[in-house]
């Protein structure tokens, strides 16, 4: 039963994940580099995710925080380059968790957790076996070595007669399947959890969650997202499409026949989220995570598309050709002075050390003097917040719609012109917290401003929708222009015009 866990596969999909993950996390971490002292040091303002618990790591002084952060950047660069890959992955995991947990506000989000999972899981793969500095070093070392050295460095199954031919196919080890299997499980859990969360929110189905998320300045969207927020019908469709996609992805990504299609759809789905919302690195990170479903055959297909030929890893993995190796390449340097590993290590540390020192000094210098840290609140602002005046009633109403028939928190049908005698449905979406019930008056006026109907209702603070239906047949209203007014607390909150036709 456990055999599939211990099966081996081509390391190339894992290598693609490693490079992608490293790039995304490096991009994210580099953007915070100017704020290290503020976010992660005891000299700044750490806002830990779990204050006062065992999950609150200690905040270090500014210099050490900058050094640790520099180490995080180095390790992420190591992940991208595949240099000391496994150590880089584990260091990146430890430092991301440590520093991330110190800053719930600007750093640690749910997608950070996805990144942590991937860092750990990839450290168990042979993602450094291809497209990495490690692999290059290893091949370079073995090219100059003899048969015994090859065996000592990991290729223990290589026989005396064919070790040179084995080296020609790089003697690259295969990667265990189980880390990417667990990554696939995590992705399915992510989609399933997202579905559960959305199903629990009644306001998701009517598009409200998406609409107000798009309007939110923290997570909301740019121009496209804002436009989408003004399209109630599209929001409903997009909300249902999201749920349908997440349910489908949970299942169909595992089905061989639908895997590729779902992968493409999922990448498109996350790309659209990235365009519509401001959710940090969530979208690129999920696209990288989805690569856990990538297979060697997909890469081979891509290679064919680009007319490049490489090792038939799929065949190697299933044993159709001789498996050139089973052991991992050693990460240990050969032990001679002048070895590229030592040279690169020294260069790395020297460059990094200088850079760290430079940035530490720069960050320390950029901190304002104690007297400049706080500014006096201007008179207008202090007067305003002391007054703390309540909002105008019209600001409690987000949207008003009229139609000839009503649906689930929407109105449909005609919305400007109605036949005489028909019923005009009005639906209003409220907004902002209200502390007490609002007394509403639904008023119907004619073009001359004469009040024809007035109905009083009370809107409890817990309700976010209010609707009403005006009967134009009792008493029969003539054709013409009319106006619906919603008054709250004696003021007109919203108004909408319509026309009755013969």
């Amino acid at each position: 039963m456990t055999a599939p866990l211990f099966a081996r596969e081509s390391p190339r999909p894992a290598a693609v994940m490693r490079i992608g993950l490293g790039l995304v996390l490096l991009w994210d971490a580099a953007a915070r580099w100017p704020h290290v002292v503020e976010l992660y040091s005891a000299d700044g303002l750490p806002l830990p995710l779990f204050p006062g618990t065992a999950f609150e790591p200690p905040a270090l002084p500014a210099t050490w925080a900058a050094v640790l952060y520099a180490l995080l950047l180095y390790s992420l660069a190591g992940v991208v380059l595949g240099w000391q890959t496994r150590a880089s992955l584990l260091i990146a995991f430890a430092l991301s968790a440590w520093l991330g947990l110190l800053d719930a506000a600007g750093t640690f989000k749910k997608y950070s957790v996805i990144g942590l999972h991937l860092l750990v899981l990839l450290s168990f793969t042979q993602s450094h076996a291809v497209w990495s500095v490690d692999a290059w070093h290893w091949r370079r070392r073995n090219r100059r070595t003899d048969f015994q050295s090859v065996r000592r460095t990991g290729c223990r199954s290589v026989s005396r007669t064919d070790w040179k031919s084995v080296l020609r196919v790089n003697c690259t080890p295969l990667s265990p399947c189980w880390p990417r299997f667990l990554a696939r499980v995590m992705i399915s859990a992510v989609y399933l959890g997202a579905v559960v969360t959305k199903l629990r929110l009644t306001d998701f189905a009517n598009g409200d969650l998406l609409m107000f998320s798009l309007l939110d300045e923290r997570w909301g969207g740019g121009r496209f997202g804002m436009w989408l927020a003004t399209q109630p019908r599209l929001l409903v469709l997009a909300s249902f499409a999201t749920i349908l996609f997440e349910i489908a992805a949970t299942v169909l990504l595992w089905v061989p026949q639908t895997r590729r299609t779902m992968l493409v759809l999922a990448i498109g789905f996350h790309a659209s989220i990235g365009v519509a919302l401001h959710v940090g690195i969530f979208s690129p990170l999920m696209i990288v995570a989805l690569l856990a479903f990538l297979r060697e055959s997909d890469l081979a297909a891509l290679s064919r598309a680009f007319r490049r030929r490489g090792t038939d890893w799929e065949s190697v993995a299933v044993g159709r050709i001789s498996n050139p190796s089973v052991g991992p390449p050693t990460d240990r340097p050969a032990g001679r002075i002048g070895n590229p590993s030592y040279v690169s290590l020294i260069l790395f540390l020297c460059t990094g050390g200088v850079w760290t020192a430079f940035v530490c000094v720069q960050q320390a210098a950029s901190r304002p003097a104690a007297t400049d840290r706080w500014s006096e609140v201007d008179e207008q602002t202090s007067t305003d917040f002391l007054a703390s005046l309540p909002p105008r009633v019209e600001d409690y109403f987000h949207r008003i719609e009229i139609g000839s028939r009503t649906g689930y928190r929407q109105v449909f049908g005609e919305h400007e012109s109605f036949p005489r005698g028909s019923t005009v449905h009005v639906m209003v979406r409220t907004a902002m917290q209200r502390q007490k019930p609002l007394t509403l008056h639904w008023v119907l006026r004619d073009a001359a401003g004469n009040e024809l109907q007035r109905h009083e209702r009370t809107l409890h603070p817990a309700f976010s929708y209010v609707s009403f239906a005006f009967q134009t047949s009792r008493p029969p209203l003539p054709a013409g222009e009319y106006e619906i007014l919603l008054e709250a607390e004696g003021n007109v909150a919203v108004r909408k015009s319509f026309r009755l036709r013969e």
């Binding site: 959890g193 969360t197 121009r223 104690a370 008179e379 703390s388």
Partner: protein, 251 residues
């Protein structure tokens, strides 16, 4: 093509034992990972998503809610000489978030404990730097507005048929916080406010419109007279006994 014998067949003895241990470790890790995923997944389905801080690492509850308004939080310190000083976000806090890159961390993180700590820290540092006019009380205020005002002008006009008014409102988020000599918060009502800042409101006395109007009209007069300012501000209105100790203190 030569015959490559699998290592599994060739290795024996110690290597075999080590490999067996390795496989057992892998099996254990996979089992633990799958169990944690399943366990916290079921807890999430049941609605108990935060049973343990560890649940955060296995619970996938993206977009758990929304707000219909946008807000900007500010912690204001009221100094001994009657000035209002913006304590948080302070000028050195330059990290910003959001689509317009203007949301401070105080606006993102709403954990009251973190806010409490940040206030303690800011007040302590401010008072050390301004010993002659220390912070005597702290207000947490929030500027807020309906989210629809975030729409660009053209989209707003298209949707609502009028220009975007971009009105802004203010409210008090927390109770006034008393600060002792070393910057610790001593008001017990703040200590009790653990669940959500939004549930913590100003007490009715402080929100009394008469009080507010008194402050509004007398604010700039009071500035020129410390004694009058404190006796009026402290005793008559807030009703907090700790303010009584301010009287007679030298500026």
């Amino acid at each position: 093509m030569s015959t490559l014998t699998p290592v599994e067949r060739r290795d024996a003895g110690l290597n075999g034992i080590l490999r067996w241990i390795g496989r057992a470790g892998v099996l254990l890790f996979c089992t633990a990972y799958l169990f944690a995923t399943a366990w916290f997944g079921v807890r999430h389905v049941l609605g108990d998503s935060l049973s343990h801080p560890g649940a955060y690492f296995f619970t996938w509850d993206m977009f758990p809610g929304y707000v219909t308004e946008t807000s900007r939080r500010m912690v204001v310190g009221h100094t001994w000489d009657g000035r209002f000083v913006k304590l948080l976000p302070e000028n050195s806090h330059r990290f910003r978030w959001g689509i317009h890159n203007d949301v401070s961390r105080v606006d993102i993180d709403r954990n009251p404990r973190n806010l409490e700590r940040a206030i303690e820290r800011s007040v302590g540092e401010y008072n050390r730097a301004h010993a002659k006019s220390p912070i005597e009380s702290v207000l947490v205020v929030e500027q807020y507005w309906p989210s629809r005002f975030n729409l660009p002008d053209d989209l707003y006009r298209q949707s609502y048929g009028e220009a975007n008014p971009r009105r802004r409102y203010w409210r008090f988020i927390d109770v006034p916080i008393d600060i002792d000599a070393v910057g610790r918060i001593s008001n017990p009502s703040v200590q009790q406010c653990r669940i959500s800042n939004d549930e913590c409101r100003m007490n009715d006395e402080f929100r009394n419109p008469n009080y507010v109007s008194t402050i509004r009209h007398s604010e700039f007069v009071i500035r020129s007279s410390f004694g009058y300012r404190h006796s009026s501000f402290a005793h008559g209105r807030i009703g907090n006994p700790s303010y009584g100790s301010l009287e007679g203190r030298a500026p």
